[in-house]
Each structure stands twice: as structure tokens, then as C-alpha cells.
Symmetry: C2
Subunit: 205 residues, 2 copies
DNA sequence: GTCTATATAACGATAGAC
DNA sequence: GTCTATCGTTATATAGAC
């Protein structure tokens, strides 16, 4: 009958906060317990150990980033629209959860195994439809010649890098938090324009 | 008279290896000692504690990435040449030291203070000459309208992101190490072309 | 400068009462 | 399910002989 969150969920949310802030090695079980406002031994009761708890947080993070990207790439829509959707999706996702991409990318470099099982379980594959779409556009001379994976790498780089390197960017550009958020917001328009010009995109009439 | 590296230097090199691989929290003083092939207490003799040793490694890393970028930005050369030099500089630097950018970017997000003292000591500032150069090119209609900081963000994103997200990229694109290196090599040409088209760069005759 | 031995503290994890 | 108390381990760091 309680309207409060279940203990297990409270623990998970706290773990998400602490792991994303400090990483696996930097995170402390005690800090997770304090953040969740529960007893430390409850962490072990529900999740057995630190590795387990971490992996749940990690998996949830990957799920928030990767499948949606692949789904957009697989959509039967114009390339221009597709690029716009990716930029918007990442902008909105990381506005809510700014530490997520740095967390996932860093932890994946630390331990590839963690991700491999995830890829296997969820059938994570770059959609062939996207590859075909880009190659077709190239042959039709609608865009200039660029390998589809390179194009995707460019799109994702432009979206993620500023957020992954937040402190570095703020420091070099002397941005406070407001300036930084405005900078990101400005990119919602700049990135699609930049990419479309970069591939010399020509509209289909 | 010894041709071997001094102990202090051996420690530093080992610390660089271990810190860049595992991060500050994940690094173990014992592993650094083992890597350097010296006794663990020597670490404290030369560097007093872990924080100190880490900060030396961190500072050296920042020095390898930031001042050179600012120096290129400040050069009195054509914008096209400038972009090409940045791309080449980062490609060559990270071919030798692939874990460096992820290390610096991650640790900077963990602890801004570490970097602030560095910025202060080294007078790290985005050169006004670069800002002026871009704005002048925009007014002369040589490139399309884009804030100079946004353009720089794009350049750096395209160079660094694939290396920072190495494992993620390899996984999603199903690249082995050779494929990945070829992918990066291919970008030496693709990135400058993409950027110049992206800003609709027009050569000065 | 370099070693062995050890102090000290923190962390993940568990046992057991309720 | 939830708590207190505590175990066992591992980490950084230091003391002191050589």
C-alpha cells in the first residue's frame, strides 16, 4: 500500500547516481546506501554484490543510448529527417541525464566483457537498411561519397563529444553552466546543418 | 654512468601506463611498482603519495593535448591548413598514445580542481586570433555563418570521439584492431573534407 | 636510495538477532 | 526484510634496518 518507492528501486536509483558520478572503482557501497537512505546490508540483500549492482546500472544505461539510435537508423525515412531525429534524441536524452554517455563510454573501455553479453542478448547490430540508404544516396549523387560508418561516426561524435568532455569544454571556453547549456542548445540547429553541408546533401524533389 | 632510466623516470612511465589504463581510482600503487620493476616504497620516496604521482601524470597528459592545439589555432595560416594540421596532430598523437584523451577527459570530469591550477599556471586561453580569423572569413563570405567555438567543437569532436569511444565503436561496427586502425586512418582525409564542406569553405585565390 | 616489515584505514561482504 | 556488529581483505602509507 506504500506510495514510496520500493527499496530495490530506491537502491537502483541511488546506484545509478553514484556509479555515474564516480565510476565503478570510485563508487562506494556506503555512499549508495546513504543516497538511497537505507542500510548498507540491504544492497547485498537485493543485489548480492557490487559487480551485480553495477552491471544492472550499466545495462540500463546502454539500453537508453544504443537501441534507440539503431531504431532511428533503421527507420524508413529520408536521410535528412533521420539525422535530425538522432540529434534531437541525444540532445533530449542527455539534457536529462548528462553523465550517462561519459559513464557508458568509459566503463566500456575498462571492461569489454560487460558489454559483449549485452550485445549478444539484445542482437545489437548496425542496421543494413542504413548502410543501403547511404550507399544508394551516394550512387544517386544526392550526397558525396562517404563510407556509411564514417558518416555515422561523424553524426554521433558531434552529438556526444561536448557532453562527454563537459568540464574540458567549460574550462577552455570559459563557460558557466548556463553558457554551456546554451551552447548545447545552439548545436541542435548547427549539427544538422553542418552535417548536411558536409555531405553536400541534395533534397529529393 | 648508467644507461638505464633513472628510477624516478621509470616510476613516472609506469604510473602513466597504469593510470591511463585504470584511472585514478582503479590504479594500484603495487601495480605501478610492478610495472616499473621497483619496490613499492620507492613510489612514496619519490612522489610522497598517490595523489601527487597521479597529478604529475595528469599534467603531462594535458600538456600533450592542449597547448599544441592552441598553438596551431594561433598560427598565422589559412583556415583550411589550420584544420588539416589539427587533424594530423591529433591522429599522430593518439596513434602513439591511444588512451590519453579518454584518460584526460574522464579525470577532468571527476575533479575539476586538478585542471584549474594547470590552466592558471599555463595561461590556457583560446586564442583571439582564431576567433577573429573565423569571423573575418564569415564576413568575407568565405565560409558560412558559424560561431567559432562551435566550429572548433566540431573539429575536435570528429578527431577525438572515435578514440575516446574505442571499444564502443569496435563493438558496434564489429571492428578488430586492424579494422579500427584503418578506420582512423581513413578519417585523416574524411574529417578535413567533411569540415570544409560543412562550412562551405571557399578558397582565396 | 633501496629494501622488509608493519601500521592504519577503508572497503566489500556476511552472520545473526529481531 | 531490516538492522547491528564484525569479519576478512586489500589499499595506501610509514618506520626503520642496511
Amino acid at each position: 500500500m506504500s506510495v514510496e518507492k520500493e527499496t530495490e528501486e530506491k537502491i537502483f536509483e541511488a546506484a545509478r547516481t553514484v556509479f555515474q558520478k564516480s565510476g565503478f572503482e570510485g563508487a562506494r557501497m556506503q555512499e549508495i546506501a546513504d543516497t538511497a537512505n537505507i542500510n548498507k546490508s540491504m544492497l547485498h540483500y537485493y543485489y548480492r554484490n557490487k559487480d551485480n549492482l553495477f552491471f544492472e546500472v550499466f545495462k540500463a544505461g546502454v539500453k537508453k543510448i544504443v537501441p534507440q539510435l539503431l531504431a532511428i537508423l533503421d527507420k524508413d525515412i529520408d536521410l535528412k529527417t533521420k539525422i535530425g531525429e538522432i540529434v534531437e534524441f541525444y540532445y533530449l536524452t542527455f539534457k536529462e541525464d548528462p553523465q550517462l554517455p561519459a559513464f557508458i563510454i568509459y566503463e566500456m573501455n575498462q571492461n569489454t566483457t560487460r558489454f559483449k553479453s549485452f550485445v549478444k542478448d539484445h542482437g545489437i547490430v548496425l542496421p543494413q537498411s542504413y548502410i543501403d540508404q547511404v550507399n544508394t544516396a551516394i550512387q544517386a549523387k544526392l550526397i558525396k561519397n562517404i563510407p556509411p560508418k564514417q558518416l555515422l561516426m561523424n553524426i554521433v561524435s558531434l552529438c556526444l563529444m561536448p557532453i562527454v568532455a563537459k568540464n574540458m569544454v567549460q574550462m577552455l571556453f570559459q563557460f558557466d553552466d548556463d553558457n554551456f547549456q546554451n551552447f548545447l542548445n545552439e548545436r541542435r540547429q548547427i549539427i544538422p546543418e553542418f552535417i548536411l553541408a558536409g555531405i553536400e546533401y541534395k533534397e529529393v524533389k
